[in-house]
């Protein structure tokens, strides 16, 4: 189980981004972390996976525990070895390497594993990658690149997978495909998954529990189905007005409508 206790993150010692975030991800569940731009979602993921220090960030208060042991002071390599693997945002493939080379590097930390079997597993989840396995990754389409970065993470047999905006920039049909694969991965491999998303609808549909982050604080959390019904979530994250229809800008009166958690 992954637990964040009142985590505070600062960049360059002065920019406070996370102001006491507490999350819990139970084994085998899918949890989503919602929030608009700049809320601190990616920072939360990077705090978990240890990638903050390359950006002059650090966890200045609170603790991050995984399976009972603290991971917030560890190197990213050590954290990855405990089974916490992050898929960073923006589909960062290793551009000049082929698809298969990218995947092989994903499985690098499994020294005593069977690479062939792992590759077959990933190609089974993503048949399109099998067709494109010798293609140079930089030239793939956005959807294919997203598959590569996710496949790369799967190669490491993660115990918990941190997905940063998997649907960003993808066509809606492809988003459905990718989410179906995420669900399948969770069911078959029993991997816990933390999805950071701006696409609240897709994230709430697939996850069991959700947190909403705003300005570095968790403002709302609960089972996804309850959140999907919550008035404020519907208004501010799902774009539905009070009557469940699409928002009519003619009738918006900003001064009247406030989020109930403020």
């Amino acid at each position: 189980m992954l637990k964040l206790n009142n985590v505070e993150v600062k960049y360059a010692g002065v920019i406070l981004v996370l102001r006491g975030v507490s999350l819990e991800i139970r084994d085998g569940t899918i949890v989503s972390l919602l929030g608009s731009n700049g809320a601190g979602k990616t920072t939360t993921l990077k705090a978990i996976s240890g990638l903050l220090h390359t950006e002059l960030g650090e966890v200045t208060a609170g603790s991050i525990e995984y399976d009972g042991g603290r991971i917030d002071k560890l190197d990213p390599e050590q954290i990855a070895k405990t089974g916490v693997i992050q898929v960073m945002e923006d589909r960062q493939v290793l551009e000049h390497l082929t698809v298969e080379e990218n995947l092989r590097l994903g499985g690098y930390i499994r020294r005593n594993g069977n690479i062939r079997k792992d590759l077959d597993m990933v190609y089974d989840y993503f048949p399109r990658l099998r067709e494109r396995r010798t293609a140079i990754s930089g030239y793939l389409s956005g959807g294919e690149q997203q598959m590569v970065v996710m496949g790369r993470a799967m190669m490491a047999h993660p115990k918990i997978l941190l997905l940063d905006e998997p649907s960003m920039g993808l066509a809606p049909l492809l988003v459905e495909e990718i989410y179906a694969i995420i669900k399948r991965f969770n069911t078959e491999e029993k991997t816990s998954i933390l999805i950071v998303e701006q696409n609240a609808k897709a994230a709430l549909e697939i996850s069991e529990y959700a947190y909403v982050l705003e300005n570095g604080r968790v403002v709302l959390d609960g089972p996804s189905s309850k959140l999907a019904d919550n008035e404020d979530i519907k208004e501010f994250y799902l774009g539905l007005s009070k009557l469940g229809e699409k928002k009519s800008y003619r009738e918006v009166k900003h001064y009247k409508r406030r989020k109930r958690w403020l």
């Binding site: 996976s49 990855a80 390497l97 080379e101 930089g138």
Partner: protein, 285 residues
């Protein structure tokens, strides 16, 4: 004849250029002290073989080992902080590093050429109407073999793949659990080995003297011509520079060789800014 001797030199340039390219590929640092690492490597070998009198293979192993360590040490001390810094800092530090290395070498071993070591036999063979020294042939073969071994290493081994991955993006590799620090250490160590082997070969054919570091001066354009991210390109660039330097020296006199190499560099850069085999920036439209 001129071409053949040019090829032999070219193999050495290629080997040193390979080290240069390796460092650039993995840590994005332009190591202008590569030539002086060669100098250091060659003198260290001389030390083991001549001063201490150790047997040949032993000295070779020790020298190569120290080349590896020297590479790692240089990376640790000076270059860690340089990653991501502006180009001018990088160039300045490595150039001054080369001066430090030269000073170090002179301090320990003096500025006069050192006593000659005979590694290869002095015989020569006739090929057609040319007379080739066996020494030079051995040197060429050794340099080329080392370069090829390194190229194969990058392409087909797991560690080589990891080095290519580190060249693509440090943070991406870290997120996959791969220790970028270790890979960088190794890449500098290997570059140190390449420089040392080149130094040993050159020292035994040309003599162990301070001017060996001039080779570095020519290996760098070789690396640029071949493409800074391509080990194969580095070797081919080295051969090209070797041949052209030889031809130009042959016809225009010795002093014209070095400028000729740089003229070729300029010409190639005008038409192929990334070098012949360099990796172009991938842009999707």
């Amino acid at each position: 004849m001129i071409v053949i001797s040019g090829l032999m030199n070219g193999a050495i340039y290629g080997l040193v250029a390979l080290g240069f390219v390796l460092i650039y590929k993995c840590s994005s640092v332009l190591n202008f002290s590569q030539g002086h690492m060669l100098l250091l490597g060659s003198y260290v070998f001389w030390f083991f073989k001549s001063a201490l009198g150790l047997p040949l293979s032993f000295s070779l192993l020790l020298a190569i080992g120290s080349g590896f360590l020297a590479g790692i040490l240089i990376e640790r001390i000076s270059l860690r902080k340089l990653i991501g810094q502006p180009l001018i800092s990088m160039i300045t530090v490595t150039i001054f590093l080369s001066l430090v290395l030269e000073g170090l070498v002179s301090l320990i071993w003096g500025t006069y050429p050192l006593q000659h070591i005979k590694i290869f036999s002095g015989s020569s063979i006739r090929v057609g109407d040319m007379v080739l020294a066996t020494r030079n042939l051995f040197a060429f073969a050794l340099a080329l073999a080392t370069a090829l071994a390194l190229i194969l290493f990058f392409r087909y081994t797991r560690l080589g793949l990891a080095m290519r991955g580190v060249a693509e993006g440090h943070q991406i590799m870290q997120s996959m659990g791969i220790s970028v620090k270790r890979i960088l250490n190794l890449s500098w160590g290997i570059a140190g080995i390449a420089a040392t082997i080149g130094g040993i070969i050159l020292g035994s054919t040309l003599g162990f003297q301070l001017s060996l570091s001039q080779i570095g001066l020519l290996a760098i354009p070789a690396a640029f011509i071949g493409g800074l991210e391509s080990p194969e390109g580095a070797v081919l660039g080295g051969l090209l520079i070797g041949i052209s330097e030889s031809i130009v020296s042959g016809y225009l006199g010795n002093a014209a060789g070095v400028p000729a190499a740089f003229i070729i560099l300029i010409v190639v850069m005008l038409f192929r800014p990334y070098g012949f085999f360099g990796l172009e920036k991938i842009e999707r439209v």
